[in-house]
């Protein structure tokens, strides 16, 4: 019989390599390169103010990408992000207009609406076995329809509550925007859930083989449903923050977040086929995408050019290291 227990000294190293796989390292490397390139353009790129500002912008995407990552780990995808973000922003602002009770309930209500939609997505995927890409696309259309009816097709008039504004723009710790703290807390919880809980283990297991996970007696359907609910909740939470940031919700406020969220997760080394990936990678991906957006806007490139560069860069980066081994190469 050979030795099966990894030597105590080797264990932390293995844990480290599990956490810090090459794609995560490359993502962080790209961040450094982008910062250096930016600093050639303008030295302020390396200033703490700029970096904190970028982190603040990144935090909204970070919250959304967290939910997206969990869903992608399952081997699914959540395309309902755009209008669930808008739903979170609009519903929380709408409730905030109802006096003090509404003010107090604004944030939980906004998030609750997102969880509700996520739950419906989850039921569709887990129990009705509808491909996630389809049900979430359809759900996105339904939520959009609901919001069009709600606003009458005009931009919404309600403004965000004071608490929402504080959460998005205030400071509990000097110089560190609250939204960054929110992302940090959510990120910490996610890391805990993914590495230390049965729920996290089940997410990875389902992503690798739902059949084997089911036959192992794991409550696969409940896990899938809950994960979609979490994703919906986080998207809506981001919507709440964005509404707080801009003082009010807006039509299509979530549209610019779908592609970046998916891109951030994938650039962070999470397999789009599910079952493989670390949260640290997602953090790197989010920062990378945010910096890229920032640099493009600093360079004052028109919308058309931005779309093109954006698409090209994502594909180029995925070609660099985001490859999937296809079935025939296994």
């Amino acid at each position: 019989m050979e030795t099966n227990d990894a030597q105590p000294a080797a264990r932390p190293l293995i844990v480290l390599t599990r956490w810090f796989d090459p794609s995560v390292a490359i993502a962080f490397g790209c961040i450094v390169v982008l910062l250096l390139l930016g600093s050639l353009y303008s030295p302020s790129f390396l200033s703490p103010e700029y970096l904190l500002q970028q982190l603040k912008v990144a935090s909204f995407l970070g919250v959304i990408a967290t939910g997206m990552m969990l869903v992608i780990l399952l081997g699914q995808i959540d395309l309902s992000v755009p209008w669930v973000v808008a739903l979170g922003g609009m519903m929380s602002s709408a409730i905030a207009a109802w006096g003090p009770v509404g003010e107090a309930l604004a944030i939980p209500f906004g998030i609750g609406c997102g969880i509700g939609i996520g739950l419906l997505n989850g039921i569709g995927v887990a129990y009705l076995r509808i491909p996630s890409m389809i049900i979430t696309l359809a759900m996105n259309a339904v939520v959009q329809g609901l919001m069009v009816v709600h606003t009458g097709g005009f931009s919404p008039q309600d403004s965000a509550s004071a608490a929402m504004r504080f959460l998005a723009t205030g400071f509990i710790i000097p110089n560190v925007p609250n939204s960054v703290l929110v992302w940090a807390v959510i990120g910490g919880l996610t890391i805990f859930v993914l590495t230390r809980t049965t729920f996290g283990r089940a997410i990875y297991a389902i992503g690798n083989s739902e059949r084997a996970a089911y036959l192992s007696g794991a409550p696969t359907q409940r896990v899938v449903m809950a994960t979609f609910a979490i994703s919906g909740g986080l998207s809506a939470f981001a919507g709440v923050l964005l509404a707080g940031y801009a003082s009010k919700a807006a039509q299509a406020m979530g549209d610019p977040y779908l592609l970046p969220a998916i891109a951030a997760v994938v650039l962070g080394g999470t397999s789009i086929l599910g079952g493989r990936g670390t949260y640290l990678g997602t953090v790197a991906g989010v920062i990378l995408i945010t910096l890229l957006q920032s640099i493009l806007s600093v360079m004052q490139i028109a919308e058309a050019g931005r779309q093109i560069i954006y698409g090209v860069v994502i594909i180029a980066m995925m070609l660099l290291y985001g490859r999937e081994r296809s079935a025939s190469n296994r």
Partner: protein, 515 residues
Amino acid sequence: MEALATPLFRMEGISKRYGGVNALTDASLAVEAGHIHAILGENGAGKSTLIKIIAGVIAADSGRMMLDEREVTFASPAQASRAGIACVFQELSLIPDLTVADNIFIGDPPRRFGLIDRRAQRRMADAVLARAGAADIHPMAQVRDLPLSRRQLVEIAKALARNPRILILDEATSALTQGDVTKVFDVLKRLRKEGLALLYISHRMQEIAKLADICTVFRNGRNVATYEAGTKSDNEVVELMIGREYRHVFPPKPAPIPAERVPVLEVTGLSWSDRLRDISFSVQAGEVVGLGGLDGQGQRELLLALFGVLRGVTGELRIDGNKVAVAGPGDAKAPQIGMALIPEDRKTEGLMLPMSVRDNLSFAALQRISRAGMIDFAAERRLIAEMISLLAIRSSSNDEPVSALSGGNQQKVVIAKWLMVTPRIILLNDPTRGIDVGTKQELYGLLRRLAESGVAIVFYSTDYDELINCCNRVLVLFDGSVIRELEGDGITDRALVASALSIGANDAAKTGGAS
């Protein structure tokens, strides 16, 4: 034997490495036309790698291959196929959503004006299916709707449709019923007479004895012996394969279990769809009850039904005399029932292949080693170490993906993962399929120890030797019903085969077909 004839196909000095492992080292093989050449060896001996190289699925690192004394290289299965090499793979290569005829002529369908002529294709498929001894399969049926044994025959027909000069069969009979095996053997003998070279890989010694002209034994990636079939005894062959003294594979037969206690598992009138009909039996603690009969008579469905996987199952299930309802694997493994299922296909049903050995081992038992959903890593490590030493699982590290383990070790991980939940009832679905002799032997010993510790075991096997030597009782299934129960010394090869077939050849032919 015409030893002087120039071989049709020859390979020399073939080596292949996967990562750090030598799958083949300086292997050679010569295949002659008009002969059936059997390849023997434990799992991991390099047989599959050898076949894949010949069939162009993978490329060798070094060495050369000669066809008709001309050196050849194959970059893809398509190239090998054009050179006249056809392969019936162990993992099926049929496309489930296409029809049988589409599948048979997938590589080179008949065409008119550049487009596929489905009518001609249908005619040709009829002919080829007949040639493969499978005339009862409708060429327009979708492969998805065929049972495994029929698909295997389609697979053979597909290889024949390419009019190969060398036909490779890799475990091609493992899913076949006895009747089909006989038919396939007749086909193979006819092909030998037609001058084809056949390479035949099987774990079943009796099949090789019946069929082969020449045998080559592989061990640890090398060809260790080539001999004329029938010149070595089974024991000698097994010794060559495992490279050590061959002891009797099975542990001593179990003592009979007195039946007066309340059975751990009692099933009454279990039915499901038209696949299971009114099945009743009981299993005592410490008893191993085998499921026998031809393959595909409802044995797998019976295990799945017990485990709560099937919907619309009627009948009564009692655990320790108490009536229970099992709505799924989650229910089945709960302590008050305590059931475990070792599934049919370890790669897709038993394991999360890319995940680590550790994650796979502890996954079913996570509830036991966690509090409020949080995993107790110390308890997890302890339990895993215990299981790894109990089953002698060989892996370089617990963090290694389970896919890197050999087939036998993978199967041990599947079993260990279920032993971690300390089940009282273990259902095994053909657990030794495609596993090397050494691991098999270990598993038989384990089964016996588990039974002695009071676990009730239901054991489905397609290998009659296993049923004879491991079980206290055997239920023989036919067409979803238990048609006979054999006990103790009454479990013999003859009795098993006779009862499996006693219904008559007509009905036996009907059940497997595309109805």
